[in-house]
Subunit: 204 residues, 2 copies
DNA sequence: TTTTTTAAGTTGCAAATGCAACAGCATATT
DNA sequence: AATATGCTGTTGCATTTGCAACTTAAAAAA
């Protein structure tokens, strides 16, 4: 595209590894379409879904902490993706001719990174809860806000959801059945419904 | 400073509230000097230290998820601070005269937000650990990397550290004494030392 | 100095969570 | 249809964690 930028576009199928954080590529990736997740595999086999990525979401070494080589950290394609790779230094190290489109690119990236910031902040919102119940509720509230409805479909199966809230699957399901019994949430496979969403909105 | 920007600079003393997320101000803050933390107070009294902020760190509604009005979310000054407030829209909505310094500002902000991204990502690294022990070790590893030494001073007292790793203080201390006994870590009040830091580095 | 306050550290007990193993159900494959 | 596979959901048991109450040590105030 631009002479001052090294750009590469690539497509991926579900299940493929889009980016491995093992070797520092110096690139940041922009997910143009599809769905992916940033996953960490622990040495003892624990999987953690660190981020879920959708269109216009960013990833890369410069944007994610990577604990050296002990753990395995990678971006995995969940639904067929197209990805744009940019060289991070090309963006930050202002180009010699200070071209107009360059500064435009930086502006756009600022917006995308701000949004990523917000997503990470939401992730922390979930993980900072002290119990599985609270984690689930925080997670469901966010999904409800995103869906703009008290009813929504989980983007996870139960195993993935457990890896996302960083808890044991069976413990999570046990807590979820209790919550169903107590009427805190309505669940039917991946369909979720929160009871008092409308009331909450109106109190704001 | 610039005609296209609304800027405000302010100073704070330790303990003062720098920014309350209750009312959306539309500003982002840049911590010029000092130390602060982004804190959430739960309805049932649980405190969570969501972020620790140092010089050049950013905060603001546009960069942090806020759960409406149920919880109390604010930036609290820990050590005397100076803070620069910018209007977020002024930055993102390109100014009419497309001035050079404006695009320069955006570039600088991009760098700061990237760094914030990394910090949030580190925060998630800690919180995504499954046990208190692993949380502590992840936290200590990060502090050791930051200090560029296996020995460092905690920026927290024990109560704050517990609020940072989102665990109970007594449970955390119990685990910490076990870790001391097992030789995983050396602790003397706020002084921490990890045993095998040098080895780890060399294996990379 | 003595007193007061604050933080560090400990412990028993109850509750929550992780682990492992399993049963039930749905979908895909042969 | 029969079989295999993968996901959902359940349960017993051991471990971890949270909670409350307490002791000890350090720092600050009198």
């Amino acid at each position: 595209m631009e002479p001052c930028l090294r750009v590469r576009k690539a497509a991926y199928k579900s299940g493929q590894v889009i980016h491995d954080f093992g070797q520092d590529s110096g690139n940041i990736g922009i997910l143009c379409s599809g769905r992916a997740s940033l996953v960490r595999l622990n040495v003892n086999g624990t999987r953690t879904i660190l981020e879920t990525l959708g269109p216009d979401n960013l990833f890369g070494e410069q944007l994610a902490f990577s604990d050296g080589k002990t753990d395995c950290l990678y971006v995995c394609c969940e639904a067929d993706c197209t990805v744009l790779f940019l060289n991070y230094d090309d963006i930050t190290k202002r180009c010699a001719n200070a071209c107009r489109c360059h500064s435009r690119l930086v502006e756009n990236l600022l917006e995308l990174i701000s949004k990523k910031n917000l997503r990470l902040s939401q992730r922390i919102e979930v993980l900072s809860q002290r119990s599985i119940r609270e984690k689930l509720l925080a997670c469901f509230r966010l999904l409800a806000i995103e869906a703009e409805s008290p009813a929504f479909t989980l983007p996870f199966n139960t195993s993935e959801l457990a890896d996302y809230i960083c808890a044991d699957r069976s413990a999570m399901l046990r807590e979820l059945s209790k919550m169903k019994q107590e009427g805190l949430v309505w669940v039917q496979r991946r369909q979720i419904r929160l009871p008092d969403f409308e009331e909450k909105r109106s109190t704001l």
